[in-house]
Symmetry: C2
Subunit: 155 residues, 2 copies
DNA sequence: TTTTCTGCAAATGCTTTGCATGGGA
DNA sequence: TCCCATGCAAAGCATTTGCAGAAAA
């Protein structure tokens, strides 16, 4: 994982380049996305921002996420069940491993990924530009907890 | 690709098992999904059904797709830009290769995929149950057409 | 002071649902 | 005949947009 503080500085410098303003709400959203603990949803970001700035609206969260996507500083993970989640820590395409039990999303290392894209290009003649790779399963913590019948707690 | 005729028969027998009815509209939707040429969207399915049954409503298309998903006979490919597409020919998780130019979606063979899931399990302790793998790029036909400035035509 | 940002509410766009009518089996 | 399926319209939901007032710079 990238250092959240460095990511925050990167985001801030992109904003300064474009002469965009650093409001308290915006800064709070940036901090949450720079960390991207567990890959938060819009609702989760909204709730966290509201702790410090209770008047923050959902629209503001959406607008800031849209801005960061446009700047290439946040990655959107769209799921069909209406639960989009975001990653501002590593805002470029990379594989995700989703626990179906506790909903945590982790970023695995995957050295064999290069072999896959090579095989695809060679086989199909495609010029591969991007990808979206999600694996679903049960994390080791939830496998151990299986007997207790509840998902593993987030740290 | 699975034989579309065999896929259609498989779908029909699932419906008969549950004593569900074979209406003309339903049969038309089944045929389109059994073939899944290019992985159609809801709108594309609707238009094709309307050729033979002009009164068919969007709601009917949605209801039948939901039924097939429930029966495990159709796979939904959700994209964030509000363009879900469906595969009833291979209704189980498998990699897709999406051309960003002509929007065609193809199903590549990918022998190196097994290595990837093995690496993931070993590295993270996850029990991998499913996946969603999409690669985005430009197909070879569209690469050739690039000078003409328009996407390759579907066959 | 200027211009962007916020926050509210209304508008979107896709999908689902309720219900009366139609039509398989 | 019995119910499931269709088709219409209304409802849902996440997200986007318009706009007036608030607040960065």
């Amino acid at each position: 994982m990238a250092d959240p503080e460095i990511r925050l500085q990167e985001m801030l410098s992109k904003l300064k380049d474009r002469a965009l303003r650093i409001t308290p709400q915006r800064l709070a959203i940036l901090r949450i996305l720079a960390l991207s603990a567990g890959h938060p949803s819009v609702e989760q970001i909204h709730e966290k921002v509201r702790v410090d700035f209770p008047t923050t609206s959902l629209a503001t969260v959406y607008k800031n996420i849209a801005l960061l996507k446009e700047l290439g500083e946040a990655l959107e993970l769209g799921f069909t069940d209406g639960s989009n989640r975001y990653d501002g820590n590593r805002p470029y395409p990379h594989p995700h491993l989703v626990c179906l039990r506790c909903k945590e999303i982790i970023d695995p290392d995957l050295s064999s990924l290069a072999d896959v894209t090579a095989e695809l290009s060679q086989e199909t003649g495609f010029l591969i530009l991007s990808h979206r790779l999600d694996f679903f399963g049960i994390c080791s913590a939830c496998q151990s907890m299986e007997k207790q019948g509840e998902p593993a707690k987030k740290k």
